[in-house]
Every structure is written in structure tokens, then in C-alpha cells.
Symmetry: C2
Subunit: 201 residues, 2 copies
């Protein structure tokens, strides 16, 4: 005998598929959806119904775009400087950089980071396409905007080597103290990087 | 110009409707659903599609049941002792008590707790229906299983008064030290309750 109605336990089970959602959180979401106005669950249902069909990857930058578009608006926009490319691991990293509000270059999504443990080698990332863009758009600067993790640094080093012959300028996001963090609470690696990368006032 | 495809920002917006889900968590869920196998989002979509139509409240216990059922299986089951009723605030509290694995009585869902701030008075809870059940099923014991919060205690006190004339035995879940918690870390109210409710060895 099941304690919950079938439809409800189905929903809880489906919600548990989301990242970081355990049984308790899934129950909380499900209960909320059942208790509240039908419109909330209907809206969510509708948004889910067409995400896979109406989204595709931009063939040039590999950002997520509407399936009726030819390329990412962040690339095709004439105000964007195609000669500067920020290289990121995932399409959502673009969102983080766009929030700064001042970056005027374009993006290139690698589709992951080099990670031998997960069986991801450089050949699975969109690096060949990056090299093609460098030629096609006469790129001047590549900004490596990968995470400050082992995988992020490895990928950055690999791309830097791969771009050696192109003569393009390769830069990397600064590592250092985050704004608002006290010196005494910073970890030693971050502080070490901040010391190495100190700038003249 | 939007940074994200329309379908994706729609999905993020819908996910933000879930309790405790902010923009970042919604982005994380949405990105996961887009990146992974279509089957995960399809399953979630399907589970959402019929929750409101295939779930209803049991007319006797107010637990959530399949819409083709007459009453909650936790009530209609002949192994369940109808003369003992655990009174809970929400249908999900039933799940918590069922997890103990040894409770053999039935349940009664109040549908909330007395909370003047939220404008919820006792007349909005299923208390009249509880009184009817006490008569109909010759109930012997009412276990007040409401939260140890101000609203939970207020509701318990109110129901205790309302049941004064019925002659039914009214009990309440024990308050005390949770298992695995050190005495020195227990808050003073919990410790005070544990002292008041001390039992003979």
C-alpha cells in the first residue's frame, strides 16, 4: 500500500532527477506544486515541453540559441568586436560574463574542460572551431575565462599551447582576492596568486 | 538583445516559482535539463501534466489520494485502528509518521495550523470533521502530531479544548532531546521540555 497517490510519487521521483535535489527537497517542491494554483505547474510543464526542440547550439560560438536563429546574437551583433573572444567552458558562463555589463567581445564555448578522470580529452572540446574562428575573423585576443580549478587551468594551458603558432594574444582572467573578502580569511593559494599578480598603483 | 534563448529563460523563470529556488538554482536546474537526455525533462513534464487532475483530498482524513479512490488507503485498510487518530497539519506529515513503520492508527489532516498573522483561524481547519469522526468511529485516542512551533502548540491547545466534552483521550508527541544530539548543544527550551517530560527508567 502506498502512502502517497501515484501521480504525486511520480512527480517526486521526477524532481529527484534534478541536480542536488534529494528526496526531501523533491517532496517539498511536489507538495508546493500540488497545494498551489494549477497555473504554476502548468507554466513549468509548458516551459519543459519545448526546451529540447526550440534550443540548439550556435554553429560558430556553441552558445545556446533559439532553433530558428543562424548564429548567436552575441556573435552576429555588429556592435560586438569579433576580434576578441572569451573562451568559456559552458554556455551558462556567458551569462556570468554578460552580467559585468561592459564586455564587448564575442564568446566561444568549449563544451567542457579537459578532465582525464571523466574521460574528456582536448579533442572532445570545440578547440578546432576556435582555431578556425581565429583565422576567419582575424582575431587579436583570446581571453581564457575558464574556472580557477585544476580542469580549468589544464584546459587554459592546453589552449595556450595550441594557439602558440597563431600569433594571437592570449590572456587569462585575473586570479586574486575576491571583492569584500578579508585578507585573514583568504586561502593561501588565492593569496599567493594575488601576491604573484600584484599590480602597480 | 537577450543572452539566453527564449525557451531557456522561460524555463528558468518557471523554475524560480518553486519554493526556495532563486535565479542561480533555477539556472542550474535549467542547464541540467537542457544538457542532459531529453527523457529527464519529458518525464518531469509528464509527471506535472496530471498531478492536479489525478489527485484529490480524501473526504474523511483529508490526506492526498488518487482521484479514483473513495477514501485514503491508510483509513480504509482494515489493519488500521480507526479508534486512534494522529492529527497532523499537512498531508506530507503523514509520510514522516509512516516512516517510523510502527504506527497502526489512522490520520486526520487539518489543512494548516492556527495562525492569526496569516489570517488562519480554527474554523478554516478540518476540526468539525475530526469531531464527526470521533463520534462515527468511536475514537479512543487523538494524538496531536503538530509541529513544535508557536502555531503548532496553539493549534494543539485549541483542539484539546474542543475535544474536552468528547471524553476521548488526547495525547501529544513527546518534546525532548533529539537522538544523537549532545546535551551541551541542545537549546534551553528543548532541554527544559526534556526535563519537564523526564521518564522513569
Amino acid at each position: 500500500m502506498s502512502v502517497l497517490p501515484r501521480a504525486l510519487s511520480d512527480l517526486i521521483y521526477s524532481l529527484e532527477g534534478l541536480p542536488g535535489v534529494g528526496p526531501r527537497t523533491a517532496e517539498r517542491y511536489a507538495y508546493f506544486l500540488v497545494q498551489h494554483d494549477k497555473s504554476i505547474s502548468k507554466k513549468l510543464e509548458k516551459s519543459l515541453s519545448n526546451i529540447h526542440d526550440s534550443i540548439k547550439l550556435c554553429p560558430i560560438t556553441f552558445a545556446l540559441i533559439d532553433s530558428n536563429m543562424d548564429s548567436s546574437p552575441l556573435y552576429s551583433d555588429s556592435n560586438r568586436d569579433k576580434r576578441v573572444i572569451a573562451v568559456v567552458a559552458s554556455p551558462f558562463d556567458i551569462l556570468a560574463i554578460e552580467r559585468i555589463g561592459s564586455y564587448q567581445g564575442t564568446y566561444h564555448v568549449l563544451g567542457g574542460l579537459v578532465s582525464p578522470i571523466d574521460g574528456i580529452g582536448p579533442e572532445q572540446l570545440h578547440i578546432a572551431e576556435l582555431l578556425r574562428r581565429i583565422k576567419d575573423d582575424s582575431v587579436l585576443e583570446i581571453i581564457l575565462a575558464t574556472n580557477a580549478s585544476v580542469e580549468g587551468e589544464t584546459t587554459a594551458l592546453y589552449i595556450n599551447q595550441a594557439l602558440n603558432d597563431t600569433g594571437v594574444s592570449v590572456t587569462r582572467l585575473a586570479r586574486g582576492l575576491p571583492i569584500g573578502v578579508d585578507l585573514e580569511y583568504a586561502d593561501q593559494i588565492t593569496l599567493g596568486r594575488a601576491m604573484d599578480g600584484r599590480t602597480a598603483l
